[in-house]
Subunit: 362 residues, 2 copies
């Protein structure tokens, strides 16, 4: 492993990387569609999955995978590494599709969620309830296929035996972590409490490790990184990822739908176990808590009630508190970055990413 | 690849193989439980998955994987092959758990299905509907973990690079086939028609390839089998697997609950797109069809109504027709077996399996 600077700052060509990743995903799904057409298999599976991937998404995980690759001394964008990065995006499609079913979300990336689309498509001859159940079932199956195909993208990427051996334990860890994180999340959702520790554990597994740390690790491992470099990346990635999720929690309640593509009602209606809600409940006066509790997890929350919930959450000081946590974690991430055994160009690269991640509005 | 006879007839020690596979599954899950305990991850995931695996199951796929290994000249039960076979059983747990959620089945292996168990466990403080939804969501997640862990069992099995390279395309094919088969199945369920071709396609993907052909292929590939042997195994496995599923369809309607562990009402209540129902609808008189249609897919079907449906199905000649199809396919499988380039001991082994598979009552 070497940690010399990338030949050119990687951040400059993220549009190109996105295009390469999307091209790898498109080619893979086109192959799958051709195979299905020859075997009496339903063509809507690959078509809907391609639509889902094309509908948007920031491609953060593939970009961070390529960033990890560069930071650990990888050069250029070799196809095997791009396909491995594309596998992370396919895995992410699996996560989002299953999460949306579990959360019963109506929209994703400004469009109906996949289970809603499928329910509408298979509505003929069925009751509304039966169509909704079928929508959920088929969405789970398309998610299962995305998970399996994420594997297949990696295994057919043309990686060396050493690359595969280095990367598989990290990939298995990533998958187990995000699934456990989701498990903690869905079992806590609907019954929000003042348990900030549990909310932070969800935040760490579902986001800090899954979205930031593991993609960096996987890219770095593909370039032959040793454990010390992986540890340095963790010291940067975990606080940054927590800051990222805390920002997401704020956007989920106070964000602008036009930017996020999601109504700022879902977290409130679901009663998600976020750090924001846990802090609000912990610091609320008795009167505030009595008014806030019935609003969190209220499935038919109106826009007026949501505005009331936002006012109470702000009045408890929770918003300010979360902003402070974001600032602290951001500073911590940058401190670890400055003291990491990395080349200046790598530090600049990760610094740019950290800025974008924490200051985003969507 | 060699096709000399196994040193000892493999069928003789299937109990030992089951014990070895179960021991590999148990050790793997015990490791996962220890890791979870150290990381604030919910311990019920591994406990429930271990319970699910311990509750029963014939271990057909691992046994056939070892059979394929022997037929292709493998000797003994080396741990890497046993762990790969255990990975097939873990994958199967994933399939059953997700299928039960999609089919909304109440029981599996004579016990409440996993999503029912989880709904009961998380009932406190939730409405019945909310608890059921949470049960379904967490069961989907435990299934996702089983799918990921099936991978991990294979990748940490200690297989050689060549073994892994030979086996992965077969494994990917198997996963895609069974998921597409399930997709065809759930979209057809509830609206049974006289489309025998569609019912047979589901039968082929969900069972013939998934339960028989691919496990044999995977075991044979682990022993270095070439394509000609895989093709011979397919010529035996596909008709046998169809016969196996046709038997399952009969048992699903006419079987004895005490033997199958499943009430003989589920297929009727769900209105599954089985060959049995398709044939019954195709050959029914107008009067029979008018009486049968509303019973297929009737969620609250009583035992008396089920008895009526059984009588009509029998009267159409569909049961006799399915028995004939089973006999024909069984004969076809045995014909291919006799003419296959296999050693006598291998032929005997597969012949024994065919007998057991088609004559079973559970």
């Amino acid at each position: 492993m070497t940690t010399t600077a990338p030949a050119e700052p990687y951040g400059a060509d993220s549009d190109q990387t996105r295009a390469e990743v999307d091209s790898a995903l498109g080619a893979f799904l086109a192959d799958k569609a051709r195979a299905a057409a020859g075997q009496r298999m339903p063509g809507e599976v690959t078509a809907l999955l391609a639509d889902f991937l094309a509908a948007g998404g920031k491609r953060i995980r593939p970009l961070l995978c390529l960033t990890g690759w560069h930071v650990a001394g990888g050069r250029g964008h070799p196809l095997p590494v791009v396909r491995a990065a594309a596998g992370l995006e396919m895995f992410h499609a699996f996560c989002l599709i299953h999460d949306d079913v579990m959360d019963r979300s109506d929209t994703r990336r400004g469009r109906p969620t996949l289970h809603r689309t499928l329910a509408a498509r298979h509505a003929a001859g069925r009751t509304v309830t039966a169509a909704q159940r079928l929508g959920a079932g088929t969405a789970v199956l398309i998610g299962d296929l995305a998970l399996t195909w994420a594997d297949e993208l990696l295994h057919t990427a043309g990686l060396s035996h050493k690359q595969l051996t280095d990367v598989l334990p990290l990939l298995h860890a990533m998958r187990t972590e995000v699934m456990y994180g989701q498990y903690l999340d869905v079992t806590a959702t609907g019954t929000p409490t003042a348990d900030v520790g549990r909310a932070l554990a969800i935040c760490r597994y579902k986001t800090a490790k899954y979205t930031i740390e593991r993609p960096l690790h996987i890219g770095a491992a593909l370039a032959g990184a040793e454990q010390t470099l992986l540890d340095s990346l963790s010291a940067f990635a975990i606080p940054l990822g927590e800051a990222f999720q805390l920002r997401d929690d704020l956007l989920g309640v106070f964000g602008d739908t036009a930017h996020t593509g999601k109504p700022a009602l879902d977290d409130l209606r679901e009663g998600k176990a976020t750090v924001l809600f846990a802090l609000a409940l912990r610091h609320a006066t008795r009167t505030q808590a009595n008014r806030l509790r019935p609003l969190l997890g209220h499935r038919d929350l109106t826009h007026d009630q949501a505005a009331t919930a936002r006012d109470i959450i702000t009045a408890t000081g929770a918003v300010h508190h979360v902003e402070t946590m974001i600032t602290e974690r951001y500073a911590q991430a940058l401190h670890h970055l400055r003291t990491a055994p990395l080349e200046p160009a790598s530090i600049r690269l990760l610094h740019d990413f950290a800025d974008t991640a924490v200051r985003r509005t969507a």
